[in-house]
Symmetry: C2
Subunit: 287 residues, 2 copies
């Protein structure tokens, strides 16, 4: 049975892309504030961008805001991605951006919701409640999670950037590390995630806008995949992010882009260009 | 316009109760795994326990697991609480236990989902993303939030118990404090929440099973309401929790109980007894 990240890597190879297409039906982008409009918006994006998408990332909030009908639309969007994948002969992973986080039977219910009811392959989670809040989502190795690690909003300073004393003697897993001394909470989370990743199905959410943080997290978690938002609308520098965060195998970062694609005159063209831009920069880095 | 916590306190006075009735339709407790069964289960609990409930706390996960139909059931449950409140002539606050946490327009969409689409008055949130992830939920003072602070699961040690260096000179807001020296992440969260609570609509989720942590959090956040799960099924000691966590005004803790009530032969009787037990202990503490 393959793991979530071997599944993702197969798709990355199939489409030579590190682009993750975000499906965020903002009210501002819909002709009317209805679940039906959110569905049309998302299905159009799926159809236009599937050839260039290493993954799709529907954002639960923008469906949930429409209640039961929104939930139904979300399920249809995920089914449409599976159908489009089958048509192309290459399965595209669906990362449900839900940022859930709870314990015990509640976490099990959220896992059931994401993987069984909706049919997603992966879900974003919040790490604040610790390992046992993650466990129900990683039982099966073919289902994956991305844990929030370092976000790019101002509030990241409130908790994530705090210096923590985690009783650690060595600084990280990399003997060549240049990162010494006190460690931030987000580096601690990265290190925990690396330890917990025994089934190749845990990744990290790391803002692409801060190359230094990306580099520190790569040192703390040398093997993990990152989901790195902030390229495009938020002004993240793709080249700097790739240099700081790519793994030695030239993989390891997915760049989710939503409005940078959905608001383009041609989403297909915007996605193709982003895919090619990333590919070009990867090529330059390998030289 | 009243604040969320003045609304809650009015209800606490009306029913002389610090009991919060959890609505958690676990699959194990339903005759069949359907949204209709979850709805029946929840409506029965609302009807039986409303006279003793300072608040109701439906858990989003146990509805979400049923997809669109579950979402619809959740909305009906919240509407039934409003109807029961109107019948009794005393509005019962609804705390949606959703533990959401996201930023910017996504957080706005979650707030819209909880407060507008569903009609809840309050929502549980995860603080990992910081202040700007909370803001969209506290814009209106009559809507409230409880931020996860210190949970009672083993994984709480992974992040919440870490010692942090938050550059603080004084230890907390209480000049009589006995808590000195390094501070944990959960105490830092409590202190931030106290600072952020300028509209009387921010509380904290604090496990009732650890009286020392409750005491430390009360010192860091002397004015806030706590939502303190763990009494009943998880074996929390009500007396110790009240001693450690009550505010000087004899209020300040809501005790959510789910299975301890729903699995009783008579949920009405179980809720009445719990309400009275808390009331008796409060009375003893005041003497």
């Amino acid at each position: 049975m393959e793991s979530f990240f071997s599944f993702l890597e197969k798709r990355v190879d199939d489409c030579t892309s590190l682009l993750c297409v975000g499906l965020d039906p903002h009210l501002d982008d819909l002709p009317e504030p209805t679940a039906a409009a959110a569905l049309t918006f998302s299905l159009n994006l799926v159809k236009q961008t599937a050839p260039y998408a290493a993954a799709f990332k529907p954002n639960a909030a923008f469906f949930e805001q429409f209640g039961a009908e929104g939930w139904d639309a979300l399920k249809q969007v995920i089914a449409a991605i599976a159908a489009e994948s089958a048509r192309m002969g290459s399965m595209i992973p669906v990362i449900l951006d839900a940022k859930r986080g709870d314990i015990a039977s509640t976490a099990e219910a959220y896992a059931r919701s994401a993987f069984e009811t909706l049919g997603a392959h992966c879900v974003t989670l919040n790490p604040y409640l610790g390992k046992d809040s993650i466990d129900p989502f990683i039982v099966e190795r073919e289902k994956g999670v991305f844990l929030l690690c370092k976000t790019s909003n101002p509030g990241a300073a409130d908790l994530q950037d705090l210096t923590v004393d985690d009783g650690r003697l060595t600084t990280d897993h990399n003997p060549l590390s240049v990162v010494n001394g006190p460690r931030s909470l987000y580096e601690h989370v990265a290190s925990l995630a690396q330890q917990w990743n025994t089934k190749n199905n845990i990744g990290l959410v790391v803002g692409a806008t801060q190359p230094e943080a990306l580099m520190r997290i790569r040192l703390a978690a040398p093997g993990l995949w990152f989901l790195a938002p902030g390229v495009g609308a938020q002004g993240g520098d793709l080249d700097a992010a790739l240099k700081a965060g790519l793994r030695r195998d030239g993989k390891g970062i997915l760049f989710p882009v939503s409005r940078g694609i959905s608001r383009a005159a041609s989403p297909a063209k915007a996605a193709a260009e982003l895919r090619d831009e990333i590919l070009g920069l990867q090529y330059m880095l390998r030289r």
